[in-house]
Amino acid sequence: MRDNPVLRIVAKIIIPVILLFALYVQFHGDFGPGGGFQAGAIFAAGFILYGLVFGTEALRNAIPPGLLRFVIALGLVLYAGVGATTMLLGSDYLAYGALAHDLISGQHLGIFLVELGVGITVSAVIVTIFLAFAGRNDP
Protein backbone atom coordinates (compact mmCIF):
# COMPACT_ATOMS: atom_id res chain seq x y z
CA MET A 1 0.00 0.00 0.00
CA ARG A 2 2.99 2.25 0.47
CA ASP A 3 3.30 2.83 -3.28
CA ASN A 4 -0.24 4.06 -3.86
CA PRO A 5 -0.12 7.87 -4.12
CA VAL A 6 -3.91 8.34 -3.77
CA LEU A 7 -3.92 6.39 -0.51
CA ARG A 8 -0.90 8.28 0.85
CA ILE A 9 -2.36 11.72 0.09
CA VAL A 10 -5.83 10.85 1.40
CA ALA A 11 -4.33 9.37 4.58
CA LYS A 12 -2.23 12.49 5.14
CA ILE A 13 -5.34 14.66 4.79
CA ILE A 14 -7.63 12.49 6.90
CA ILE A 15 -5.33 11.59 9.83
CA PRO A 16 -5.34 15.12 11.36
CA VAL A 17 -9.16 15.17 11.03
CA ILE A 18 -9.40 11.82 12.86
CA LEU A 19 -7.15 13.03 15.67
CA LEU A 20 -9.07 16.31 15.95
CA PHE A 21 -12.39 14.44 16.07
CA ALA A 22 -10.99 12.20 18.81
CA LEU A 23 -10.08 15.28 20.87
CA TYR A 24 -13.59 16.66 20.28
CA VAL A 25 -15.15 13.38 21.48
CA GLN A 26 -12.80 13.40 24.49
CA PHE A 27 -13.55 16.92 25.68
CA HIS A 28 -17.19 17.07 24.60
CA GLY A 29 -18.12 13.91 26.51
CA ASP A 30 -19.66 15.98 29.31
CA PHE A 31 -22.23 17.47 26.96
CA GLY A 32 -22.94 14.79 24.34
CA PRO A 33 -22.21 11.19 23.51
CA GLY A 34 -18.56 10.34 23.96
CA GLY A 35 -15.86 10.13 26.57
CA GLY A 36 -12.47 8.65 27.22
CA PHE A 37 -13.10 5.13 25.91
CA GLN A 38 -14.52 6.25 22.56
CA ALA A 39 -11.99 9.04 22.13
CA GLY A 40 -9.10 6.69 22.90
CA ALA A 41 -10.29 4.21 20.26
CA ILE A 42 -10.66 6.96 17.63
CA PHE A 43 -7.30 8.53 18.50
CA ALA A 44 -5.65 5.12 18.16
CA ALA A 45 -7.44 4.62 14.82
CA GLY A 46 -5.59 7.64 13.44
CA PHE A 47 -2.22 6.10 14.36
CA ILE A 48 -3.30 2.68 13.05
CA LEU A 49 -4.25 4.24 9.70
CA TYR A 50 -0.77 5.78 9.57
CA GLY A 51 0.73 2.37 10.33
CA LEU A 52 -1.38 0.65 7.65
CA VAL A 53 -0.54 3.10 4.89
CA PHE A 54 3.09 3.94 5.66
CA GLY A 55 4.12 0.67 7.34
CA THR A 56 4.56 -0.36 10.95
CA GLU A 57 8.23 0.62 10.82
CA ALA A 58 7.21 4.23 10.17
CA LEU A 59 4.65 4.06 12.99
CA ARG A 60 7.32 2.67 15.31
CA ASN A 61 9.54 5.59 14.37
CA ALA A 62 6.70 8.04 15.03
CA ILE A 63 5.95 6.58 18.50
CA PRO A 64 8.93 4.82 20.09
CA PRO A 65 7.92 1.63 21.99
CA GLY A 66 9.52 2.95 25.16
CA LEU A 67 7.29 6.03 25.08
CA LEU A 68 4.26 3.80 24.42
CA ARG A 69 5.03 1.71 27.52
CA PHE A 70 5.29 4.89 29.59
CA VAL A 71 2.01 6.33 28.24
CA ILE A 72 0.07 3.08 28.94
CA ALA A 73 0.82 3.49 32.63
CA LEU A 74 0.44 7.30 32.58
CA GLY A 75 -3.34 7.26 32.08
CA LEU A 76 -4.00 4.79 34.89
CA VAL A 77 -1.66 6.70 37.21
CA LEU A 78 -3.49 9.93 36.35
CA TYR A 79 -6.85 8.33 37.19
CA ALA A 80 -5.65 6.78 40.44
CA GLY A 81 -3.73 9.98 41.23
CA VAL A 82 -6.93 12.02 41.15
CA GLY A 83 -8.30 9.64 43.80
CA ALA A 84 -5.15 9.95 45.90
CA THR A 85 -5.31 13.76 45.60
CA THR A 86 -8.87 13.92 46.86
CA MET A 87 -7.83 11.72 49.79
CA LEU A 88 -4.88 14.02 50.57
CA LEU A 89 -7.29 16.97 50.46
CA GLY A 90 -9.25 15.32 53.24
CA SER A 91 -12.13 13.76 51.32
CA ASP A 92 -13.01 10.25 50.13
CA TYR A 93 -11.21 8.44 47.32
CA LEU A 94 -12.41 9.85 43.96
CA ALA A 95 -14.76 12.36 45.66
CA TYR A 96 -14.10 15.18 43.20
CA GLY A 97 -15.83 17.88 45.25
CA ALA A 98 -12.60 18.42 47.20
CA LEU A 99 -10.66 19.43 44.07
CA ALA A 100 -12.11 22.95 43.86
CA HIS A 101 -13.74 25.51 46.12
CA ASP A 102 -17.27 24.37 45.28
CA LEU A 103 -18.82 21.01 44.46
CA ILE A 104 -19.78 21.63 40.83
CA SER A 105 -16.41 22.89 39.59
CA GLY A 106 -14.69 20.13 41.56
CA GLN A 107 -16.84 17.56 39.77
CA HIS A 108 -16.07 19.17 36.42
CA LEU A 109 -12.31 19.13 37.05
CA GLY A 110 -12.32 15.60 38.43
CA ILE A 111 -14.37 14.12 35.58
CA PHE A 112 -12.20 15.98 33.05
CA LEU A 113 -8.98 14.52 34.49
CA VAL A 114 -10.40 11.03 34.93
CA GLU A 115 -11.72 10.89 31.35
CA LEU A 116 -8.35 12.18 30.13
CA GLY A 117 -6.63 9.31 31.95
CA VAL A 118 -9.04 6.81 30.37
CA GLY A 119 -8.42 8.22 26.90
CA ILE A 120 -4.62 8.18 27.28
CA THR A 121 -4.42 4.56 28.45
CA VAL A 122 -7.02 3.23 25.98
CA SER A 123 -5.37 4.81 22.95
CA ALA A 124 -1.87 3.70 23.99
CA VAL A 125 -3.02 0.12 24.67
CA ILE A 126 -4.78 -0.15 21.29
CA VAL A 127 -1.75 1.17 19.40
CA THR A 128 0.46 -1.24 21.38
CA ILE A 129 -1.72 -4.25 20.54
CA PHE A 130 -1.79 -3.25 16.88
CA LEU A 131 2.00 -2.86 16.77
CA ALA A 132 2.53 -6.15 18.60
CA PHE A 133 0.38 -8.05 16.10
CA ALA A 134 1.11 -6.25 12.83
CA GLY A 135 4.80 -5.68 13.60
CA ARG A 136 5.51 -9.42 13.59
CA ASN A 137 5.11 -9.56 9.82
CA ASP A 138 8.00 -7.22 9.17
CA PRO A 139 11.08 -8.79 7.63
Binding site: F31, Q38, L68, A73, I111, V122, A124
Partner: protein
Protein backbone atom coordinates in the same frame (compact mmCIF):
# COMPACT_ATOMS: atom_id res chain seq x y z
CA UNK B 1 -45.11 0.10 15.67
CA UNK B 2 -42.42 1.53 13.42
CA UNK B 3 -39.83 0.91 16.14
CA UNK B 4 -40.91 -2.73 16.37
CA UNK B 5 -40.54 -3.14 12.60
CA UNK B 6 -37.05 -1.59 12.70
CA UNK B 7 -36.08 -3.82 15.62
CA UNK B 8 -37.30 -6.97 13.85
CA UNK B 9 -35.41 -6.10 10.66
CA UNK B 10 -32.20 -5.28 12.59
CA UNK B 11 -32.33 -8.39 14.79
CA UNK B 12 -33.12 -10.56 11.76
CA UNK B 13 -30.08 -9.16 9.96
CA UNK B 14 -27.99 -9.82 13.09
CA UNK B 15 -29.02 -13.50 13.01
CA UNK B 16 -28.34 -13.74 9.26
CA UNK B 17 -24.89 -12.18 9.70
CA UNK B 18 -24.06 -14.58 12.52
CA UNK B 19 -25.07 -17.60 10.40
CA UNK B 20 -23.06 -16.28 7.45
CA UNK B 21 -19.99 -15.86 9.70
CA UNK B 22 -20.36 -19.46 10.90
CA UNK B 23 -20.89 -20.93 7.43
CA UNK B 24 -18.11 -19.07 5.60
CA UNK B 25 -14.63 -20.59 5.53
CA UNK B 26 -12.74 -17.60 4.11
CA UNK B 27 -11.51 -15.84 7.25
CA UNK B 28 -11.28 -12.50 5.45
CA UNK B 29 -15.02 -12.67 4.69
CA UNK B 30 -15.72 -13.83 8.26
CA UNK B 31 -13.91 -10.72 9.57
CA UNK B 32 -16.07 -8.51 7.35
CA UNK B 33 -19.17 -10.32 8.70
CA UNK B 34 -18.04 -9.58 12.26
CA UNK B 35 -17.67 -5.90 11.34
CA UNK B 36 -21.17 -5.84 9.84
CA UNK B 37 -22.49 -7.60 12.95
CA UNK B 38 -20.97 -4.95 15.22
CA UNK B 39 -22.33 -2.15 13.05
CA UNK B 40 -25.84 -3.65 13.22
CA UNK B 41 -25.46 -3.98 17.01
CA UNK B 42 -24.47 -0.31 17.17
CA UNK B 43 -27.62 0.62 15.23
CA UNK B 44 -29.69 -1.46 17.67
CA UNK B 45 -28.14 0.51 20.55
CA UNK B 46 -29.07 3.79 18.81
CA UNK B 47 -32.67 2.56 18.47
CA UNK B 48 -32.58 1.80 22.23
CA UNK B 49 -31.40 5.43 22.85
CA UNK B 50 -28.07 4.18 24.25
CA UNK B 51 -25.97 6.52 22.09
CA UNK B 52 -22.81 6.29 24.21
CA UNK B 53 -22.80 2.50 24.01
CA UNK B 54 -23.47 2.65 20.27
CA UNK B 55 -20.51 5.01 19.89
CA UNK B 56 -18.23 2.57 21.73
CA UNK B 57 -19.52 -0.39 19.72
CA UNK B 58 -18.97 1.47 16.44
CA UNK B 59 -15.44 2.60 17.37
CA UNK B 60 -14.18 -0.58 19.03
CA UNK B 61 -16.33 -3.35 17.53
CA UNK B 62 -16.40 -2.16 13.93
CA UNK B 63 -13.10 -0.34 13.71
CA UNK B 64 -10.43 -1.57 16.08
CA UNK B 65 -11.32 -5.25 16.41
CA UNK B 66 -11.73 -5.59 12.62
CA UNK B 67 -8.25 -4.12 12.17
CA UNK B 68 -6.79 -6.43 14.83
CA UNK B 69 -8.43 -9.49 13.26
CA UNK B 70 -7.11 -8.48 9.84
CA UNK B 71 -3.63 -8.10 11.32
CA UNK B 72 -3.97 -11.59 12.80
CA UNK B 73 -5.12 -13.01 9.43
CA UNK B 74 -2.00 -11.46 7.95
CA UNK B 75 -0.03 -13.67 10.33
CA UNK B 76 -1.95 -16.94 10.12
CA UNK B 77 -3.33 -16.98 6.56
CA UNK B 78 -6.87 -16.38 5.35
CA UNK B 79 -8.20 -19.94 4.98
CA UNK B 80 -9.75 -21.96 7.75
CA UNK B 81 -8.30 -25.42 8.37
CA UNK B 82 -10.56 -28.44 8.17
CA UNK B 83 -11.54 -29.50 11.70
CA UNK B 84 -9.98 -32.80 12.74
CA UNK B 85 -13.09 -34.16 14.49
CA UNK B 86 -16.87 -34.25 14.00
CA UNK B 87 -18.71 -31.11 15.18
CA UNK B 88 -21.51 -33.07 16.91
CA UNK B 89 -20.29 -32.86 20.53
CA UNK B 90 -19.47 -29.10 20.39
CA UNK B 91 -22.86 -28.51 18.73
CA UNK B 92 -24.59 -30.37 21.58
CA UNK B 93 -22.71 -28.36 24.23
CA UNK B 94 -23.57 -25.07 22.51
CA UNK B 95 -27.24 -26.05 22.10
CA UNK B 96 -27.61 -27.06 25.76
CA UNK B 97 -25.86 -23.91 26.98
CA UNK B 98 -27.98 -21.72 24.72
CA UNK B 99 -31.18 -23.41 25.86
CA UNK B 100 -30.17 -22.88 29.52
CA UNK B 101 -29.50 -19.19 28.86
CA UNK B 102 -32.85 -18.73 27.08
CA UNK B 103 -34.56 -20.54 29.98
CA UNK B 104 -32.83 -18.11 32.36
CA UNK B 105 -34.22 -15.09 30.52
CA UNK B 106 -37.80 -16.28 31.20
CA UNK B 107 -37.48 -15.00 34.77
CA UNK B 108 -36.29 -11.58 33.66
CA UNK B 109 -38.68 -8.61 33.62
CA UNK B 110 -40.24 -7.76 30.28
CA UNK B 111 -38.49 -5.39 27.88
CA UNK B 112 -38.95 -1.72 28.90
CA UNK B 113 -40.95 -2.67 32.00
CA UNK B 114 -40.91 0.43 34.26
CA UNK B 115 -41.41 -1.76 37.36
CA UNK B 116 -38.20 -3.71 36.67
CA UNK B 117 -35.78 -3.71 39.63
CA UNK B 118 -33.08 -1.97 37.59
CA UNK B 119 -35.36 1.07 37.22
CA UNK B 120 -36.27 1.11 40.93
CA UNK B 121 -32.90 0.88 42.67
CA UNK B 122 -30.36 3.74 42.29
CA UNK B 123 -31.22 4.86 38.74
CA UNK B 124 -33.97 7.35 39.80
CA UNK B 125 -31.57 8.89 42.34
CA UNK B 126 -28.81 9.35 39.72
CA UNK B 127 -31.21 10.72 37.11
CA UNK B 128 -32.80 13.12 39.58
CA UNK B 129 -29.72 14.35 41.43
CA UNK B 130 -27.07 14.34 38.67
CA UNK B 131 -27.75 17.88 37.31
CA UNK B 132 -27.47 19.57 40.73
CA UNK B 133 -24.72 17.36 42.15
CA UNK B 134 -22.35 17.29 39.16
CA UNK B 135 -23.65 20.00 36.83
CA UNK B 136 -22.94 17.81 33.80
CA UNK B 137 -25.64 17.55 31.12
CA UNK B 138 -24.71 14.05 29.89
CA UNK B 139 -25.89 11.81 32.71
CA UNK B 140 -24.01 8.84 31.23
CA UNK B 141 -20.71 10.64 31.76
CA UNK B 142 -21.58 11.73 35.30
CA UNK B 143 -22.57 8.18 36.30
CA UNK B 144 -19.58 6.59 34.57
CA UNK B 145 -16.90 8.95 35.83
CA UNK B 146 -18.31 10.25 39.11
CA UNK B 147 -20.99 8.06 40.74
CA UNK B 148 -19.37 4.89 39.43
CA UNK B 149 -15.77 6.12 39.47
CA UNK B 150 -14.48 2.98 41.18
CA UNK B 151 -15.96 0.75 38.47
CA UNK B 152 -14.43 2.84 35.70
CA UNK B 153 -11.07 2.75 37.47
CA UNK B 154 -11.40 -1.05 37.50
CA UNK B 155 -12.27 -1.10 33.79
CA UNK B 156 -9.23 1.01 33.03
CA UNK B 157 -7.09 -1.37 35.09
CA UNK B 158 -8.46 -4.25 32.96
CA UNK B 159 -7.45 -2.46 29.74
CA UNK B 160 -4.05 -1.64 31.25
CA UNK B 161 -3.61 -5.31 32.16
CA UNK B 162 -4.55 -6.34 28.60
CA UNK B 163 -1.89 -4.02 27.22
CA UNK B 164 0.73 -5.26 29.67
CA UNK B 165 -0.23 -8.87 28.86
CA UNK B 166 0.23 -8.34 25.12
CA UNK B 167 3.56 -6.61 25.80
CA UNK B 168 4.69 -9.53 27.97
CA UNK B 169 3.59 -12.24 25.51
CA UNK B 170 4.38 -10.69 22.13
CA UNK B 171 6.46 -7.65 22.94
CA UNK B 172 7.29 -4.70 20.76
CA UNK B 173 10.41 -5.09 18.72
CA UNK B 174 12.86 -2.33 19.26
CA UNK B 175 13.94 -0.28 16.29
CA UNK B 176 16.54 -2.33 14.52
CA UNK B 177 19.32 -1.06 12.29
CA UNK B 178 18.84 2.63 13.08
CA UNK B 179 22.41 3.22 11.93
CA UNK B 180 21.58 2.23 8.33
CA UNK B 181 18.53 4.43 7.93
CA UNK B 182 19.54 7.38 10.02
CA UNK B 183 23.26 7.72 10.62
CA UNK B 184 23.94 8.87 14.13
CA UNK B 185 26.24 11.88 14.33
Amino acid sequence: MLIEAINIVLLGMLVLTAFAAVRLHDLFAVTMMFGIYSLLAAVVFVVLDAVDVAFTEAAVGVGISTILMLATIGLVGRHEQRPAHRPLLPLLVVAVTGAALVYGTLDMPFFADPAAPVHQHVAPYYLGKSPEQTGIPNVVTSILASYRGYDTLGELAVIFTAGVGVLALLGLRRRKRPSKERPTP
